[in-house]
């Protein structure tokens, strides 16, 4: 790979404004970000800082109000709903805090789900790849268990298998350990780390748990919809996080920041 290669993810000056009637909430305020293939990035920050919004943006679930997003050179900003569905299907795997598996559907069928929406995958290929993905996360012996018959950690590993089954470029994990105890959390995190190091999958992780964030190779700290720290050193990130928390004592959580309200028409920053 040469230095001129396009980055996997390139966000330039991305804004996300939610129009709630009278009030406009700016969830992202001019985020610029570049992520290369094979990185392991943690998005950290207090609640309401825009982590999840940024995650949805990166995962092509949402489109920015302003700014541009290039995913592997493709412009995801101007894409149609179907175009973004195709990108999610081929390039991105999601792991959610609450697993989001289909109830009363076996593990292997849950994992097959993304392949159902991919063109030209036969039923036998689907089954084969789903079984392989489940073996990869160590659940080769739980193929026909329903989510209700699996522990939290196992359910999350099914979700990881589902995210991997389409060979995506990026695995997005939104608080993947939020519903797990500390032991299974470590297992899931170990699994993500192995996938990153051995299979070279780019991982973007949203967490507010410092023990989870510690494992990432690069940490982005968000505050009030802006990236305030971009570091490979966990200590630096930690200091930045705590400084934010000190400053956050005064305003109540419903009004994230004084600067969040801007007069109409000036939502784009100068310069």
């Amino acid at each position: 790979m040469n230095d001129d290669a396009k980055p996997l993810i390139q966000l330039s000056d991305v804004w996300k404004v939610y129009n709630l009637g009278e009030v406009k909430v700016e969830a992202l305020r001019g985020v610029c970000l570049t992520i290369e293939s094979g990185e392991y990035v943690a998005l950290m920050g207090p609640s309401g800082s825009g982590k999840s919004t940024l995650m949805n943006m990166l995962g092509c679930l949402d489109r920015p109000t302003e700014g541009s997003y290039l995913l592997d050179g493709e412009d995801a900003t101007s894409m149609s709903r179907n175009g973004r569905a195709r990108l999610r299907n081929r390039r991105i795997g999601f792991v959610f805090q609450n697993f989001n598996l289909l109830a009363r559907t076996s593990a292997v069928e849950n994992v097959e789900l993304p392949l159902l929406y991919a063109r030209g995958v036969s039923a036998s290929q689907r089954r084969h790849r789903a079984v392989e993905a489940l073996k990869q996360v160590g659940l080769g012996d739980r193929l026909h268990h329903h989510p209700g018959q699996l522990s939290g950690g196992q359910q999350q590993r099914v979700a990881v298998a589902r995210a991997l089954v389409n060979d995506p470029a990026i695995l997005m994990a939104d608080e993947p350990t939020g519903n797990l105890d500390s032991k299974t959390s470590r297992e899931v995190i170990q699994l993500l780390r192995t996938l990153n190091e051995e299979s070279g999958i780019t991982i973007i992780l949203v967490t507010h748990d410092q023990d989870i964030g510690r494992h990432a190779k690069r940490i982005l700290v968000l505050h009030d919809g802006q990236i305030v720290e971009d570091t490979t050193d966990f200590g630096t990130a930690l200091r930045s996080l705590h400084r934010d928390e000190d400053h956050l004592v005064v305003p109540p959580p419903h009004t994230p920041a004084q600067g969040a309200k801007r007069p109409e028409g000036t939502s784009k920053p100068m310069g």
């Binding site: 179907n82 289909l102 789900l113």
Partner: protein, 415 residues
Amino acid sequence: MNLLVTIRIALRALRKNKMRAGLTILGVVIGIAAVTAMVSIGQSASSLVQGQFESLGTNILVIFSASHRHGPVHHGQGSIRSLTAGDSEAIADECPAVLATSPIVGTGGQVIYGNTNWRPREMVGVGTDYLIVGNWTLRHGGFFTERDISSSSKVCVIGQTLVAKLFQTTNPLNETIRISNIPFRIIGILEPKGANIVGEDQDNIIMMPHTTVAKRLRRTSFDTVDVILVSARAVDRMPDAQREVRQLLCERHHVAPGQPADFEVQDMTEIADILGVITGTMTLLLSSIAGISLVVGGVGIMNIMLVSVTERTREIGIRMAVGARGGDILRQFLIESILLAMIGGLVGFGLGVAASAGITAVINSLMKSVEWPTVISIPAAVLAIVFSSAVGIAFGFYPAWRASKLDPIEALRYE
């Protein structure tokens, strides 16, 4: 995503909630069952009517004397006795579209054989060609000849009911029965014909030469007959036959152009057509009432599909997150509602057929003389399925469309 997989997913979704699915399709089941039963019974009725007319001969014209008017008082059909046996022969000889004719002279009376007696429903005098005109066949013996007619022979032909009532074990052929103290020799026995359209026993009949009835039983010297039955060469020559008969009779009866004729010609197919229209209209009316319940069933499906979409918002979010397009979601829910409606249609069709079979069985047991056929038509089955699928599409589209337009982020967050 291919159709087969979509259908499998839809079936699984329905199986997860069997009770609800069953109640949802109930409306469609009832609707289709009602329509099927109505159409099927209507078809039985019209095929019954048709069968009856065919047994009578569909290519028949009936010629009556016109009604006689005495000042302001009408005396009813046949009150002028203007038709003669000569007319009947002339029609047979001179009208090319006519196959055969027979004069009819009616009477009534007691038939006595040995120490038993019976009063037949019909005691008629007929011509030599009556078997052709009336679409009858003989089981045993022969029919009247020209000689029998010209000499007013004391011979008769009897139906199966008379055979049963008067002759238990003896062979009736060539036996002698008495009517008004006149002995008649039985020369022929008719095939059974069964009941007619209004349930009257057509086999309860005795026939004699029309001259015999006129001279010996009615004791009249006039050559007049009650009715002339005319049989056309084919059903499509009925209009020709009717025109020729009118023209000939007008000449023979000296009816001036523009004057009312002293006879009336009735076409049996006209009656059959009218009865067909009546049964058809009744079927249509009942079916459209039944069709309303189909619409109600469709609304039921829509209602449940809307609930289902709301309940499964999270599932829709998950599917969208892993790459399902709006179209995929739309198809999934649409196929679910189509399947619901189609299953309802099939079950309803089965129930409808069972119901109509039951109803015709009840009718047949109540009216022993008439055999209502049970008609199960393949087009009706196809129509039921097509119609119920159409209901599924029409009422499933809106919920499916709503599902496809969900925002994936909000759908994923839905609790």
